[in-house]
């Protein structure tokens, strides 16, 4: 798929990639590259390295080309060495070799960033490195296709409003409630992810019920229902900004005070942390993950539940939610509300292990074997505590858990936390 060299018309080039990296150089990156001592501990934090045993999947090694640029152009010492003819050249071939390292074997879960003894935020740098990979034409086909679809159709999976409309009708029929559309001045604008709409339609029904129960004023927007941001996954801020702007425009148009990101990890980090920086200004509204909203409703006493799940449950914290966004206690509070027999995975919260599908890995067909390899770490964690069901709050994680557990013939269903809460709502009379 790498055709830059042969197709003269390609808009991407090595130089454009290097320019993108130059844009990304900042003090943290320089301090991180200055500090690595090749101790290799980040490898022990990476599910891709741990489960494949291949040293080339060591997180910091994935950044070697970008490190070379930093050394050669951003240190006096490196410039001097360059003048003396020392040091490797960054080439297209090199970037091609690194493409699978930066995309297929990294879910940007950030676990390495938590473990590195010198404090290198490796995931932060991987995100930056992907900018250069896109601009040099070394992004995986699957992610390119998803980005193009997201920009052109509004959904990375090419999902149309018509499809969602059918689902809304279905939810309304089954729940007897109305799904509010384009409600001017609603408190919350609810976003969805295409994967959720296709794989887990029960989510929409669940929030419809919960918000009705708690008396929350909310709405969907016909202009923009998609929460996910393929631009973040492929690692391009221009695409990311375009997609973020759609959400901002929809929210501003409806005059909402808050935007709710669905049960999707990267959508949340994309809109919560990256979005304002992609568009270069702060939002006139707040952004929450659905779990944050539910926990706030619980704390305010607006959610009344009855009954508890009696089977042995455990929970997978999505990396984007827990480690990368600090939403950790909220899902625990909600679990306490509805689960009687809850057991933590041994490493959970900010040190949980990635399911293996995040950071665009699940949109990159080529990465399928690595994705399944990385899942083995999660599988081992699950086996340690032997739950009867797993709970999570990210559609990508949930899909990966379901596929992975099935692959290894483990009969452990996976449920979304929002649905579980919806099932325990006290009937109002």
């Amino acid at each position: 798929m790498s055709t830059t060299a042969t197709q003269t018309k390609s808009p991407f080039s090595l130089e454009r990639g290097l320019q993108a990296w130059r844009e990304e150089m900042d003090a943290p990156v320089a301090s991180f590259f200055s500090s690595c001592v090749h101790c290799g501990l980040c490898a022990t934090a990476c599910p891709f390295q741990v489960e494949t045993g291949d040293p080339k999947y060591t997180p910091i090694y994935k950044l070697e080309p970008m490190r070379l640029l930093w050394e050669q152009e951003y240190t006096l010492w490196g410039k001097l060495k360059g003048k003396l003819g020392m040091g490797k050249q960054i080439t297209d071939e090199m970037l091609e070799e690194w493409e699978p390292l930066l995309y297929d074997s990294c879910s940007m879960c950030g676990r390495c960033s938590m473990v590195c003894p010198v404090g290198n935020d490796i995931a932060y740098m991987i995100r930056k490195a992907r900018e250069g990979m896109v601009a040099s034409g070394h992004a995986p086909e699957g992610l390119i296709a998803a980005s193009v679809r997201a920009v052109n159709t509004g959904s990375p999976m090419g999902l149309q409003w018509k499809t969602l409309e059918v689902q809304i009708k279905h939810v309304e029929t089954s729940s007897g409630l109305t799904v509010p559309l384009d409600q001017q001045g609603a408190d919350y604008l609810v976003l969805l992810s295409s994967m959720e709409i296709i794989n887990f339609p029960e989510y929409l029904e669940a929030i419809t019920k919960i918000f009705d129960h708690a008396g929350v004023s909310w709405t969907l927007s016909k202009d923009c229902f998609e929460a996910t941001n393929a631009g973040i996954q492929i690692g391009n801020k221009d695409i990311a900004a375009k997609l973020t702007q759609r959400v901002v425009d929809a929210a501003v148009k409806l005059g909402v005070k808050n935007v709710i990101s669905p049960e999707c990890g990267h959508a949340y980090t994309a809109i919560r942390w990256e979005g304002p920086n992609n568009i270069g200004r702060a939002y006139p509204f707040k952004v929450f993950h659905i779990i944050e909203v539910l926990d706030q409703l619980r704390a305010d006493g607006r959610i009344k539940t009855e009954g508890k799940e009696m089977d042995r449950l455990s929970m997978h914290d999505p990396c984007n939610l827990a480690r990368k966004s600090g939403v950790i206690q909220q899902q625990r509070n909600l679990m306490d509300l509805v689960a009687d027999n809850f057991v933590y995975l041994k490493e959970h919260g900010k040190l949980q292990w990635c399911c293996g599908a995040g950071g665009g890995v699940s949109s990159n067909e080529r990465a399928e074997p690595l994705k399944m390899a990385a899942f083995k770490r999660k599988k081992a964690q699950i086996e340690e505590v032997e739950p009867e069901r797993m709970v999570t709050m990210c559609a990508t994680c949930r899909t990966q858990l379901e596929e992975g557990l099935e692959e290894f013939n483990m009969d452990i269903p996976v449920v979304g936390l929002t649905e579980m809460i919806a099932e325990h709502l006290k009937e109002s009379d």
Binding site: P11, Q19, E23, Y74, V148
Partner: protein, 369 residues
């Protein structure tokens, strides 16, 4: 002094004449043997040889010195075997000690040189202005030190450089060395030079070297600085009675603190014992009464070359020489200036890249599919 005893007398005769008992003499010989790392059984042999030794002619040249070395030898508390040995060598020229002055004195030197051609010993104390320096800085009877040394050494059997000035240049050579002082060994290349360093040297070390020459007619085994290994083979630190405190980590930190009163190690007060090679710790001074460290003062390392310039006397051995603080400040400021310049260039590079940013579009990406 110039005409002390009958030159025909042997050392033994001379000693007995001075009332030194045979027992006292043998004790000296035993000590000499042990210092020369000879077995005690050699003591009688040394005694026998010394008894029979004829007084050799010694010419003592004093250049840029303070007379401390001569004082060390002669100002003993009571007559000792050490200074008696001096009585029984034929000290034919020593302008501090001799009665003769002026031309008569120089005549005595020339006479001794002439009469003992090839056999006399030259003892030098003090450094001398080197060949490149103004010879007028130090002259005797109108003769420059350099000239006198070269003339006198020409017919000598060996040269003994007594004291750190003669051995290594000493105080006159201390930075900035205004007189261009050099050590004897810088000038004398064709005769054996034995350095007996120290400021001043332990008297018995001087006589010990002479004793060996008298006993065996040989010169002692020397270290890398041409010092007799028997006396300079071990460091003060290795022989120091306060060493156990160093090993235990017990240190005096000022001259009147508890550690000083308890006799703890003086390393932190600047003791140069670890790098000083001398016999003070074993032979002591003033007839074995005491020595600097025993008196509570750190060793200055006076037997070592350039001890004047080897950092402060009261600064620990590990402390660098020179003002490191200023160097750090200066270099640090330079580093910040250069780093800031380089950093601003880097920033500009990134800013330029941002300014030239070509947004990636879906259409561009689509071309890749």
């Amino acid at each position: 002094m110039a005409v002390p005893n009958n030159p025909r007398k042997t050392l033994g005769e001379s000693l007995r004449q001075h009332g030194v008992s045979r027992r006292g003499f043998l004790k000296f010989c035993a000590a000499t043997a042990s210092m020369m790392a000879l077995p005690p059984s050699m003591a009688p042999a040394i005694a026998a040889a010394l008894e029979k030794a004829r007084r050799p002619s010694v010419i003592w040249l004093s250049f840029q010195e303070c007379t401390g070395c001569t004082e060390s030898l002669t100002r003993s508390f009571s007559p000792t075997v050490e200074n008696l040995i001096f009585d029984v060598i034929s000290l034919d020229y020593h302008h501090t000690l001799q009665a003769a002055a002026g031309e008569a004195a120089e005549l005595a030197r020339e006479q001794a040189m002439h009469e003992n051609e090839g056999e006399y010993l030259v003892v030098v104390d003090g450094s001398l202005p080197g060949p490149g320096a103004n010879p007028g800085y130090s002259t005797i009877a109108g003769i420059s030190n350099l000239q006198m040394l070269q003339d006198t050494v020409a017919g000598a059997a060996a040269v003994v450089a007594v004291g750190t000035c003669a051995a290594f240049g000493g105080l006159p050579k201390a930075d900035p060395n205004p007189s261009g002082a050099v050590a004897v060994s810088d000038i004398v290349k064709d005769k054996p030079v034995i350095n007996v360093s120290g400021c001043p040297p332990v008297p018995m070390v001087i006589t010990g070297v002479l004793a060996q020459y008298l006993t065996f007619g040989t010169l002692p085994e020397l270290d890398e600085y041409n010092r007799p290994l028997a006396f300079f083979g071990q460091s003060i630190h290795d022989r120091c009675y306060r060493r156990p405190f160093y090993d235990k980590g017990l240190f005096a930190e000022s001259f009147d603190d508890e550690g000083a009163k308890k006799g703890w190690c003086l390393y932190r007060m600047g003791c140069k014992g670890p790098m000083a090679y001398n016999a003070c710790a074993t032979m002591k001074w003033n007839g074995g009464v005491s020595w600097p460290i025993e008196s509570g003062h750190p060793c200055l390392g006076c037997s070592e070359p350039d001890f004047w310039d080897a950092g402060g006397f009261y600064k620990a051995l590990s402390v660098p020489i020179g003002d490191s603080g200023d160097v750090l400040l200066g270099a640090g400021a330079a580093g910040i200036a250069v780093g800031a310049t380089a950093g601003i260039m880097s920033r500009r590079k990134s800013a330029a890249a941002k300014a030239d940013h070509q947004p990636v579009t879906a259409d561009e990406l689509e071309q890749k599919l």
